[in-house]
Symmetry: C2
């Protein structure tokens, strides 16, 4: 973690800061974009900063490779799929490094393996076990700009692995943490994090600053800019993130530790997520261990359960509702029906036409009226709430899928988030 630049000056510390700059697929989508990225890195360097670049594969290249794989094999063998897909970053990192060289910026590219990103052996969704970025440190010390392949690592079995969805962000954050970088810039095709999805709410505003906690809640409830995983990683290691656009290069959104001296907005953002479905198992005998039996069976099938709500009726029977990813709905339904027989429940029903609307804000912790305001706003507009779940800085409501966009818009207005 970097010291404040002013303090550095006072302490006579060098003013050089280390910045990790990560460029996503659209940011390196073609030769023009790669030249623009190199120009920007060169400017950052000229400003006196040390830079480590992390890149994704170019544009839709990964999709093209997956199509080829599907064309030669009915399955997607994980080890070979990882070997295949990691070719994508290899191409973009070599090209970015060449483009830097053409601008007089000395540079060298490094694969995940060369950058010392050691993972477990869980192909296509490996987790980082250890960072040993010795070659990256040496390259920085030698005055080079290292260009590192995002998304990939090498397993403890010496096989090539990939880090799963959002993996390039994880690479950038992990490198920033391991190198003690002052910040990690995530360049993408949007200008930052917004108070709501701008495609849903035309008056959504870009947020100059969001706390890690808020960003994690946003990522978990439908925010599409950053994956939960990289935000968690950044918070754990105290790496300030800066999400910004590689098309406009303007300052974007800083994601940082909450600053206790500042007054917090009660509601920072509204998120929506229509990727889930609801399952309800009804007439469940209300005795200990029944819920555990159900969720153990789902966990054993690697089905992630998100919201869970349980209501006990007066007849000693209870209804359990929960949400799962739409893609898991059929399998989860089947499991519920098996468990239904075992525990003596009466029925299993599912609803694929739901959506979740969430309001998020660190100031909520000390503002007890927010929940009531949210429920009133929805009910005044005739929107029925099917499920509710809350955290200290988030309230989520499940509503009918066709009401999601309307719910986001009226909540955005009701909580005073609309741009002037």
């Amino acid at each position: 973690m970097g010291t404040n630049p002013l303090l550095r000056g006072l302490l006579n510390l060098p003013l050089v800061t280390l910045i990790v700059q990560k460029f996503g697929g659209t940011s390196v989508g073609d030769a023009d974009r790669i030249r623009a990225v190199a120009d920007h890195v060169a400017r950052t360097r000229a400003d006196g900063h040390d830079v480590v670049v992390v890149v994704s594969a170019m544009g839709k290249f990964t999709d093209d490779l997956i199509r080829l794989a599907d064309d030669v094999s009915p399955t997607r063998p994980p080890r070979e799929l990882d070997m295949l897909l990691t070719a994508g970053e290899r191409i973009s990192m070599a090209l970015v490094s060449m483009a830097l060289g053409a601008r007089g910026v000395e540079s060298a590219s490094f694969t995940g393996s060369q950058a010392g990103i050691i993972t477990d052996t869980d192909h296509t969704r490996a987790k980082i076990l250890e960072m040993r970025p010795d070659r990256i440190r040496e390259a920085i010390a030698a005055g080079l700009v290292p260009v590192v392949a995002g998304f990939q690592g090498i397993s403890t079995d010496k096989d090539i692995t990939t880090l799963g969805r959002g993996g390039s962000d994880v690479t950038a954050v992990a490198l920033a943490a391991a190198l003690g970088a002052d910040s990690c810039e995530i360049y993408t095709d949007v200008t930052g994090v917004f108070s709501a999805d701008p495609r849903v709410v035309s008056k959504a505003r870009r947020l100059p600053k969001v706390s890690f906690d808020e960003m994690m809640e946003m990522a978990a409830t439908g925010g599409r800019v950053l994956m939960l995983r990289s935000v968690e990683f950044a918070r754990r290691h105290g790496v300030p993130l800066h999400v910004r656009s590689s098309f406009t290069w303007e300052p974007g959104t800083w994601i940082v530790e909450e600053d206790p001296t500042m007054e917090e907005a009660i509601v920072t953002a509204i998120t929506d997520d229509s990727s889930e479905a609801k399952l309800t198992i009804d007439g469940v005998p209300d005795r200990p261990g029944v819920a555990a039996q159900l969720f153990r069976a789902l966990a054993d099938a690697s089905i992630n359960v998100d919201m869970i709500v349980q209501n006990t009726g007066t007849n000693g029977l209870t209804a359990i509702s929960f949400t799962v990813a739409l893609t898991d709905l059929d399998e989860a339904s089947a499991i519920c029906n098996e468990v239904k027989a075992l525990i003596g429940a009466t029925s299993v029903t599912s609803d694929a036409s739901i959506g979740r609307v969430s309001i998020i804000g660190a100031g909520m912790k000390s503002s007890p009226g927010v929940t009531a305001q949210m429920f009133e706003t929805l009910s005044n507009n005739g929107i029925n709430i099917e499920m509710i779940s809350t955290s200290s800085i988030r309230i989520s409501c499940v509503v009918s899928a066709d009401k999601v966009a309307e719910a986001v818009r009226i909540l955005h207005t009701a909580f005073g988030l609309d741009a002037a």
Copy 2:
């Protein structure tokens, strides 16, 4: 090196043989071709053989990458170019391995680095220093078909290197040697090695068998099927090569040690090469050290000199002619002009419109009339010979470029090589 299968049977040795099968760019050019390759490997496996597959990048993929590189950088930084280009084999090897899996053949792909191909640090044309194919051996022992990236290795500095032109063949031969394979099959888009280029001589015949020595002479004088380097490597390590087509799968040409018990054809093949130019430096004082001075200057500029002819006249002056690659002609001319001044020669002339025609045959060693027959054949057809060079099994003549095709055809007929 493998024992004869019959002998293995008599000695009660296992009949399993290990075959390295190398597939070039056209052989893995698209998903259809990759499936065909996987079918063939599966058949070889079903016949009871152990197989190691070596692959090149798909079709013109490498050319596409070079175009991208040229688009972002005016130079081609060697380290980054190697990083870029090695993405090509990574893609084809993963796809071939997946296609094998789809046919029930257990398989795993390995990069040059994972296959233990250790090279020097001379990027874009690295030489293999050491083979440590431990993971390949383990994979074979575990019943897998290893699919190895051709053309690439890892340097003693832990950087990714490429082996230069024909590098995938070198990978295949080096692996075959290190693993003690029984043979190395080079699959390409022609059906084998021919008695002359079939595009020049319609009556050219496929040769069922060629000796290493003959093949080396052919490769050195314009034969386009195999590079000199991989034939040299195969001969040094006694690896029998089998050049054949991945489009017809029929038996092709075996390249093996000369069999002393067989009578040798006097002339096996005619080759032609129009990629060189001739330089003549005239009026050179005939004193020791003059030629050395010239060729040292050319060597210092990394210019490969091929044929050299020197004629001393009666006046104590001598003329030195030599050939260089057309691409080196301008630079070589400039060097000759510098050296001309230093050594007091009178003139430098160059001729880019030349071609070399060679006849090759192991039987030539014991047939003194061949040289005369070649010269007579050319002169009877009005073709002037500008330079001559010979080895024990080859005679090369430089002729005017526009006479090359005709010279090849008449020599092919004169030496009885025309197909019936």
